[in-house]
């Protein structure tokens, strides 16, 4: 039986919009607007959505890199929602993040060796030759040569730099790793390499992942569970097969229809969404998706649907399925 590694309830992250003169709060950007997540050890959860859906903010909020506005985050049975920064520091060893952009995620003025030694220095785990050994081991783990430690980030390709980022995330042997679009900035051929590396590491080290991506194709192979986000909320979450072969939410259907298929003949119905992408500062009333939904009902404009449980661990927030 899996123990629950992470339990997120009703998470909201709102960013205030302030007027220029007197710094009054005149509104907020509701980047994350009510998210429930649950992870067991060893799970690989995919979080998909468009830009502006709040998926990156959700990931960073879970890690407390951004302060949550409301809700609760329980990690390893401990409520960390309001934990002050200082007390978070030892916990950070157990939850890490891989960033999207391999260019800006590594300090250009530090050698790879120093970048990878930083975690050990910060937590006082090792120094000197012991530290160097650890760094060498990390490099080996991600498939980079030991000499890489002497080089600077700009001497490497995007894929190699991302490997360094992965190595850095692994340094403290975390239990949970959040990958924020870990392969989006890489060439397609390299994407597969890095995803394979991530999966190998997951098996070898028993890691738990949350993989954030706008690309359904990327998550389809590696995740055992997928959550679909729209405008700060989760609209559907299900085990992988269930989501791909039996999507419930109209938005999920549209996303799936847009994925290029390897078999040219098999067409899913082309569900083209109308309307413009809405703004998280001014979300529509009721169901956030209703202005663009091909199956919207009058009720959708009034009332926001909550996640309803269907069979087999499948949840959907849509009035088509609300009782």
């Amino acid at each position: 039986m899996h123990e629950r590694l992470l339990d997120v309830r009703g998470l909201r992250t709102h960013f205030p919009i302030v007027s220029k003169i007197l710094r009054r709060r005149i509104g907020s950007v509701r980047a994350v607007d009510g998210v429930d997540l649950s992870l067991g050890a060893g799970d690989v959860l995919g979080v998909v959505g468009e830009s502006g859906s709040g998926k990156t903010t959700t990931g960073k909020t879970i890690l407390k890199l951004i302060e949550p506005t409301e809700g609760s985050i329980v990690f390893e049975g401990r409520d960390i929602t309001r934990l002050p920064a200082r007390e978070m520091i030892p916990l950070r060893r157990r939850m890490q993040i891989i960033f999207q952009d391999p260019m800006s995620s590594l300090n250009p003025r530090m050698t790879v060796g120093r970048i990878l030694a930083a975690p050990f220095e910060i937590h006082g785990i090792a120094r000197g030759s012991k530290c160097r050994d650890r760094v060498a081991e990390l490099l080996r783990l991600v498939g980079l040569p030991a000499e890489a430690a002497q080089r600077y980030p700009h001497e490497f390709s995007g894929g190699q730099r991302q490997r360094v980022g992965i190595a850095r995330a692994l340094a403290l042997r975390p239990r949970l790793i959040i990958g924020d679009e870990p392969v989006s900035a890489l060439d397609v051929s390299i994407q597969a390499q890095i995803m394979n590396l991530l999966m190998r590491l997951q098996r070898e080290l028993g890691l738990t992942y949350i993989l954030i991506s706008h690309n359904l194709g990327v998550v389809s192979h590696v995740c055992n569970r997928v959550a679909v986000m729209y405008l700060g909320r989760i609209v559907e979450t299900a085990p992988r097969e269930a989501l791909f072969f039996d999507p419930k939410h109209p938005y999920t259907e549209a996303l799936l229809a847009a994925v290029p298929s390897a078999e040219p003949g098999s067409h899913r119905g082309r569900a083209v969404l109308g309307g413009d992408a809405p703004s998280p500062a001014n979300p529509p009333r009721g169901c956030a998706f209703h202005p663009r939904c091909p199956r919207a009902m009058p009720r959708c404009a009034e009332e926001a649907p909550t996640l309803t449980n269907l069979t087999g661990g499948h949840q959907v927030a849509c009035h088509l399925y609300t009782a």
């Binding site: 978070m88 890490q96 800006s104 530090m110 850095r168």
Partner: protein, 287 residues
Amino acid sequence: MSAAVLQRAGVARRFSRHRLALFGGATVVLLCLSAFVAPAIAPRDPLLLDTSVRFLAPFARWPFILGTDELGRDTLSRLLYGGRISLTVGLVAMATTIVTGSLIGLCAGYFGGWTDTLLMRFIDTMLCFPQVFLLLVVAAFVPPTLISISLIIGLTSWMTVARIVRTEILHLREQDFVQAARALGASSGRIMFHELLPNIAAPLLVAATLNVAAAVLMESYISYLGYGMQPPLASWGNMLTNAQDYFDTVPWLAILPGVMITLTVMGFNFLGDGLRDALDPRLRMEP
């Protein structure tokens, strides 16, 4: 060759194309050397008075290569020792400016919010005072030693450095590697000094070089006006204080120290400009 070596070679090549910068660099090296070995190469003690040899013209009599002043002191020796003083003041003042400016800029840029607003207002306020006025008022209170003068020059020049640092930090703060450091649990101090500071080394170096030039100039101003280095200790500035009176008879007393100041300031300015071009082609202002 690794890419890093090639990149450094590129920097060196651009620098050497900038001949003025080379000239500046050579001048700076020469001046620093001569200041360093002044006690060894000065023909006479710069404080030694000998009214029997006053007002000698340059090359008139050995060993007074550059002549003597109104009290019979050897001009060349005074120039050399004056150089020591002026350069030392320049370097100490620069160090003060860089340290103060970096600290304030780092804090303002990294912490943002009210810290930033307050510090920026403070910088703006300090910038309202013309530097010479501020310097003179403080110099009038403080006993004029080498250290005190260097410190007050440094403490009235840090504002531009702070602004430069702050702008750079504001930009760098958004980079993922800073977030990564926070995710690893790094303290603010570690992020500021370990992660951010190395990334602003280049503009700091440029600012430091140009700042030495400005500091040497400032020292000459206040010494000329009598509030800097006090006679009989020679500084290029105070050597000019009484020169006006002797224009008719011994004009070189007024020309030579000024030439030295100009050469020094020019050297550092050219060097700083060349460094700026070499390290960041975006900032080019000169052909």
